[in-house]
């Protein structure tokens, strides 16, 4: 049912440039993601990885370039519109809703899929009850998927850090995204947690979600990704399979040069 445009890439961006005053955060960046793919974006600190996510999700306005999803032009769209197209993200510095419980966080993730309006809520119609029940079931399922089914009623702020990371992923999954953007999901996790995370991400991809992941943890990236995009100083310096990228001299120079 999905149309592919001329270039055949499901989700792509081209010529993306972003400048802050005198600093160029992104320069002529291009990316292409196929449906059901897991693509990692890597690069030294300050390479522009999170900036790219921010541009895609409409948090920053880009100065040049285009972003297309399945033929639809998303360039410059506000954040909530980008979400409506099925692109949902997690955040490097967690942005969970600490004023709600774990379950409510995921229910909020399902916001766009609640098929009732203010009037239904006010009058407590049967549609309201039906939808709330359905949303709740799906939220519980998402939490089971990430392994948080035992802490449904806890205030989100009380969870340990690793669980909060999982919660953000569950919340994003609640939105039934076509494309999931993970912003450094392994940051702050220990080796065991990172391994579990890798398995979880693969299971997400197996369910048909396309994943774009910014990461620093090389074992995670090389272990599970289908494709890797390498940024340095705001520019793309390599793109290909994990094996190819690992042997790319420009990539090696970029990382070693950091020392």
């Amino acid at each position: 049912m999905s149309r592919t445009d001329r270039d055949g890439a499901f989700f792509r961006g081209e010529g993306i440039s972003l400048r802050f005053g005198g600093v160029t955060a992104l320069q002529d960046v291009a990316f292409a993601v196929e449906p059901g793919q897991l693509q990692a974006i890597i690069g030294p600190n300050g390479a522009g990885k999170t900036s790219l996510f921010n541009v895609i999700t409409g948090l920053y306005p880009l100065d040049a370039g285009e972003i297309l999803l399945d033929g639809a032009r998303l360039t410059g769209a506000p954040t909530h519109v980008v979400a409506r197209h099925g692109i949902v993200r997690t955040f490097q510095n967690l942005e969970i809703f600490a004023n709600m419980t774990v379950l409510e966080n995921v229910l909020t993730g399902e916001h766009l899929h609640g098929r009732y309006g203010a009037l239904d809520a006010l009058l407590r119609t049967r549609r309201f009850a039906r939808e709330e029940r359905r949303l709740r079931q799906q939220a519980e399922e998402a939490l089971r998927f990430v392994g948080l089914q035992d802490v449904l009623g806890q205030p989100a702020g009380h969870l340990p850090f690793g669980s909060q990371r999982l919660l953000e992923i569950a919340r994003a999954l609640g939105a039934a995204p076509r494309i999931l953007l993970l912003d450094e999901p392994a940051a702050g996790l220990n080796v065991k947690e990172t391994e579990a995370l890798g398995g979880l991400i693969r299971r997400i991809v197996d369910r048909g979600v396309t994943v774009l992941m910014v990461e620093h943890d090389m074992s995670l990236v090389m272990g599970i990704s289908d494709r890797v995009l390498v940024l340095n100083y705001g520019e793309v310096i390599a793109s290909g399979t994990p094996a190819a990228v690992q042997q790319n001299p420009a990539v090696i120079a970029a990382y070693l040069g950091e020392e």
Binding site: T57, L59, P78, T79, H80, A83, R84, V88, R89, F91, E95, I96, F97, A98, N99, M100, E104, L107, T108, G109, E110, H111, L112, G114, Y116, A118, A121, L122, L123, R124, F128, A129, E132, R133, L135, R136, R171, A172, A175
Partner: protein, 327 residues
């Protein structure tokens, strides 16, 4: 779990309604009824403001202006232009909704303190207009001769009737607010309060929601305003000054910003308190200031948080001897 909690909330509301219904028969003095009527009006005001401040996380420092605008509009239309009272009341509410929509759109795009300043400025402009447009509003001495309340042909015959009307309205509006809050719309609001960025990233149109809540909270104030005008049959600018707006904010903060019950509690508390403080009338302004500061510093969740802490403390006390008894 959801259906059960729903029933618990309705039960609580029902008990409260029952208590309110019985109360007039227990009071010795008719005067207390008038205090409670004002309390009911304040409860409507604070409910709306609570939705804005506690759930959406925005500040309005000019809410008394919406109160006054509705009161004056309905009063002038019904007294000077002889409109029927229900029409005047509807017009008063409609005008406020329109004005609120106008201010909300540009100011809600900016950071919190801009909205605070904008609403404060708006409140003062409206206050100045009430004072200066003497031909229309009667100026500083106010506007009299407003016809009494009449809703769907029925006229309250006594203070007791008005008491029931006002509190029926308050409870209805409470139920409406509660139903909104406990739905995906309420979750979206609370999400906006916690993290606008994350809320937007999940598809919440934060601008629309913030505007909607702002206009809704103004609507609540307008309902209170038209009820007030036709109950007291007299309006003057002094009731809608910056001082009044601050009182409303204090009620919401004191009650606990994220709690609808807290809003009602805060309204009742600060309506009854000045009566008790009659002797020290000039000092009330000091007490408001002190209350705001102390509340923010030591009990940011207000009376609602206080009640929760008390409940937990009681539960902890009861649990300990049982635990000691277990082997």
């Amino acid at each position: 779990m959801l259906p059960l909690r729903e029933h618990t909330h309705l039960l609580g509301l029902g008990l409260f309604a029952l208590g309110l219904a019985v109360l007039p028969f227990l009071l010795g003095n008719e005067y207390y009824l008038t205090v409670l009527i004002v309390g009911g009006l304040n409860a409507i005001l604070t409910l709306g403001l609570c939705l804005l401040m506690g759930y959406a996380g925005q500040v309005s420092l000019g809410h008394a202006a919406f109160y006054g605008l509705a009161a004056y509009t309905s009063g002038i239309l019904t007294a000077t232009w002889r409109w029927p009272v229900p029409a005047g009341m509807a017009a008063g509410i409609a005008l406020v909704l329109a004005v609120a929509s106008l201010i909300a759109v540009p100011t809600l795009r900016l950071k919190g303190h801009y909205l605070a300043m904008g609403t404060l400025g708006f409140g003062l402009i409206v206050y100045i207009v009430f004072n200066e447009a003497t031909a229309l509003t009667g100026g500083p001495s106010g506007f009299t001769g407003i016809p009494k309340l009449s809703v769907a042909g029925w006229r309250p015959a006594s203070d007791r009737d008005t008491y029931y009307l006002v509190w029926a309205a308050a409870l209805l509006l409470f139920l409406g607010a509660q139903n909104l809050v406990r739905s995906r719309l309420g979750r979206a609001l609370r999400a906006i309060h916690a993290s606008e960025t994350a809320a937007a990233s999940l598809g919440v149109d934060t601008q629309r929601y913030k505007t909607a809540v702002f206009v809704l909270s103004a609507g609540y104030a307008a309902v209170a305003g038209v009820l007030y005008a036709h109950y007291v049959t007299f309006v003057s600018p002094g009731s809608f000054s910056f001082h009044a707006s601050v009182q409303l904010v204090t009620m919401v903060v004191l009650g606990g910003m994220g709690s609808l019950w807290g809003a009602v509690a805060g309204a009742l508390f600060l309506t009854v308190l000045p009566e008790a403080l009659r002797a020290v009338e000039d000092y009330d302004i000091l007490i408001y200031g002190a209350l705001l500061i102390l509340c923010m510093m030591f009990l940011p969740g207000g009376l609602a948080e206080g009640a929760q802490r008390a409940a937990r403390w009681v539960r902890a006390l009861r649990r300990t001897p049982q635990e000691e008894a277990a082997p």
